[in-house]
Assembly symmetry: C2
Homo-oligomer: 151 residues x 2
Amino acid sequence: MNRPLLAALTLAAAAFSLPAAAQFQKPEDAVKYRQSGMFVMANHFGRIGAMVQGRVPYDAAIATANAELVATLSKLPFAGFVEGTPGTAKGTAAPAIWTKRADFDAGAKKMQDEVAKLVAASKTNNLDNLKAAFGEVGKACKGCHDNFRNQ
Amino acid sequence: MNRPLLAALTLAAAAFSLPAAAQFQKPEDAVKYRQSGMFVMANHFGRIGAMVQGRVPYDAAIATANAELVATLSKLPFAGFVEGTPGTAKGTAAPAIWTKRADFDAGAKKMQDEVAKLVAASKTNNLDNLKAAFGEVGKACKGCHDNFRNQ
């Protein structure tokens, strides 16, 4: 196995190797952690959106910096979906997350995979590639939000 | 200039090259962004704290993964301290941030510098080194919180 791949796998394993519950002293901390991580991730995804939509000038280096941040952040929130922490208010975690956990996890992985493609697209220095990859990430976000977020 | 350094500087420049206000549609978004970023950062710093304090077994790879996350996250919240957004409640941003901005910015940089040392210490595979660097980061956090967070 090559060293960069090994390093990436080690990092990924480390990020998931503590039992989720052990990361949080209280269930409320887990909820706040996942909501905070999603909010910061959405902000940086939105900065790419501003370029894609022509609201700010296209800058490949800024797009890549933000895409790489989104990629890092995309790994974090899911540890916060610990058992027994669904919400009821609009925009909070729906009970379906825990009754259809495999589907939820597959949706999370789909998003992470599309974000990895967004990073690659951002490095092609081509706005059309960025737009296409941005759209696919957006679809992956929406797919999970439609099914697993209280409306 | 070597390539990794150049890449790091490009990334750092990109993270700060949009005017902060342009990143946020509303002042409340800036407040939520900085609070969310701080919360996620504190969680990952706390995972290292759990090792340092002997509450979970020492694992150098997990320490490094979390230290690197803290290093990435340590760059983010400060864009959210936009003009005109102090708080009044305990734990929120004190008005002094905007009246002594140079001191605040120096405090932020001190924390980021100590976090960089924490990453290096985590890679020595030596718990005593990790403990010492963890303590210095904690002091840097406290230094700013004492002066710039509403008590």
